[in-house]
């Protein structure tokens, strides 16, 4: 009996340690969405007009995140975010699984922290919580953050997706905190070496050198450097800030851009590294039953070939959400987003959306959202190099549940 007890004791003791030290929690969001798309194309020189429509209805496990957090002594905290997207199944090759964050934070003081590892850097209001769907009242995030549009909007063209080192803190100033963060990370993901379908490893920089997928072979010049400075009221009702990053856009990677760009004037500037600054500003807050989130991003380039060939590369994105809490459980909102996508094109897009969320209980929130997306291209080189104009209209209706695990 005694040996059996001795055998059992370490296991029970270990379990108690895990229960008290390792925090495991998460969230998932499951949706049904209805999508209607319409594309109208016109060739002004010939007067030809075409249009096409598409309708899609689908259920999906949009995303599930599992978080692991462990406090190691008084100064260290480890954190991991494991993310599964779109009905993830390795067997069926659906969706994706990824480690979005895995970092260690060293707390020197409340005013000074050092975070090391794969992390979401501080940039505007949304970047740190862009994949925390349970924290957001909406189902469909502002365009540049929305993974369902990742084929259309390269998130990295607007925001820093990951960093590996961040020094950050909050300094009290009366009824406010001054938040600051400075960070560094790898170059844009497209520079990182990747596996080819044939089983080899390739990179845009030095195809003969790489032997590991997922490593960044670029030199220090191409790495990401950035930061944010902002203020936050002590009761967390208002916050605002300015964010800046410096890195390079990989214009060697021609696979990321649609064919009409490659056949247009912009093709002459491909093949090198475009120095890029992403400048963000954010303002968000709550007043009584009202809440709002405003965010702006301007992407500017310092790139000689673009100037030489007179190709405009700048991009911008603005998003505003105004919400109203009908009760403590029910909120509604409307939002407007606007952006321009230049890259040698004359293109503007607008998004109008409204929706609501109902907190059914502590763990479950029901959400509904309507989204209308409008995009207008002008003078895009089409087939036979005729210049075409294109109008794209997409409407979505999203219904879903967000569940805290």
């Amino acid at each position: 009996m005694l040996p059996l007890l001795l055998l059992c004791w370490p296991a029970q003791h270990a379990q108690a340690q895990i229960d008290s030290d390792l925090q495991l929690f998460g969230s998932m969001q499951t949706v049904f969405f209805h999508q209607e798309s319409r594309i109208d194309t016109e060739i002004p020189s010939t007067g030809t007009r075409n249009s096409g429509t598409e309708t899609r209805n689908t259920f999906a496990l949009q995303q599930m995140d599992l978080f692991f957090r462990k406090e190691i002594g008084d100064e260290l905290t480890a954190f991991v975010d494991l993310e599964f997207q779109l009905n993830y199944s390795s067997e069926k090759q659906w969706g994706s699984m990824s480690i979005q964050e895995a970092w260690l934070n060293y707390h020197i003081s409340d005013a000074a922290n050092l975070k090391l590892g794969l992390l979401f850097p501080s940039f505007n209001h949304l970047n740190e919580i862009k994949n925390r769907l349970a924290l957001l009242p909406y189902l469909f995030r502002p365009l540049v953050y929305e993974r369902l549009l990742s084929e259309k909007f390269y998130t990295e063209d607007f925001i820093p997706e990951h960093a590996f080192f961040q020094f950050h803190g909050a300094l009290p100033a009366g009824n406010w905190f001054v938040d600051y963060a400075a960070y560094a990370g790898n170059a844009e993901a497209s520079y990182v070496s990747r596996n080819t379908p044939s089983g080899g490893i390739e990179t845009d920089l030095n195809p003969n050198f790489e032997f590991l997928g997922g490593v960044d072979p670029s030199n220090l010049k191409l790495k990401l450097f950035g930061g944010r400075i902002g203020m936050r009221s002590r009761d967390e009702m208002f916050k605002f800030g300015i964010s800046v990053t410096h890195d390079y856009n990989n214009l060697r990677d021609s696979t990321r851009y649609p064919s009409h760009i490659l056949s247009g004037p912009a093709r002459r500037i491909l093949g090198s590294d475009a120095e890029r600054f992403r400048i963000g500003s954010d303002l968000s807050g709550r007043y009584k039953a009202f809440w709002f989130e405003l965010e702006g991003i301007k992407v500017i380039y310092d790139y000689d070939p673009a100037e030489r060939f007179d190709v405009e590369l700048e991009q911008s994105f603005f998003s505003g959400v105004l919400g109203y809490d009908i009760t403590s459980e029910i909120t509604t909102y409307g939002s407007l987003q606007y952006g321009d996508y230049t890259f040698g094109l004359d293109s503007d897009y607008f998004v109008y959306t409204f929706g609501g969320a109902w907190r059914v209980n502590e763990s479950v929130t029901a959400k509904a959202q309507f989204i209308a997306y409008d995009e207008q291209f002008n003078d895009v080189p089409g087939d036979n190099l005729n210049l075409i104009s294109q109008q794209v209209t997409i409407t979505f209706v999203f219904l879903g549940f967000s569940i805290l695990l």
Partner: protein
Amino acid sequence: MNTTLRIGLFLTLLVCASHTMEAQTAVIVNRSVPASSMGLKELLDIYTLNKAHWDDGSRITVFDLKRGKTKEAFYEYIDMSEEDLQRIWLRKQFTGKARPPRSISNEEELIDMVSRTPGAIGYVTERNIPKKSNVRIVARVKQR
């Protein structure tokens, strides 16, 4: 007559005082905590999880009551609604910044948890605090 009046007045004051004492909410900490008193800003920072460490560098473990008048009085004192605090806690938890307060059903259990957890803080009705316990009062909140 005079003496009777005085005794009556004394008893009335005594009853009022005892009512006031009964209604007093006290913020308590484990005796290991270096602070001897606490102001409103510090309590707000602790309950919004903006202050996660005591001055000696040890971690703060925050306890909260699930419901009741004591909770209402404390939230009113720090001028925060339950919904706002829940929202803040969830964001801090999901970004890995802090652990949300542990929610306790009754005051006796909360006192026990604070007394047994180094670096812990919580709030209870003052009269429920046993004379011999491993907790110290650092602030008082008057209930309305």
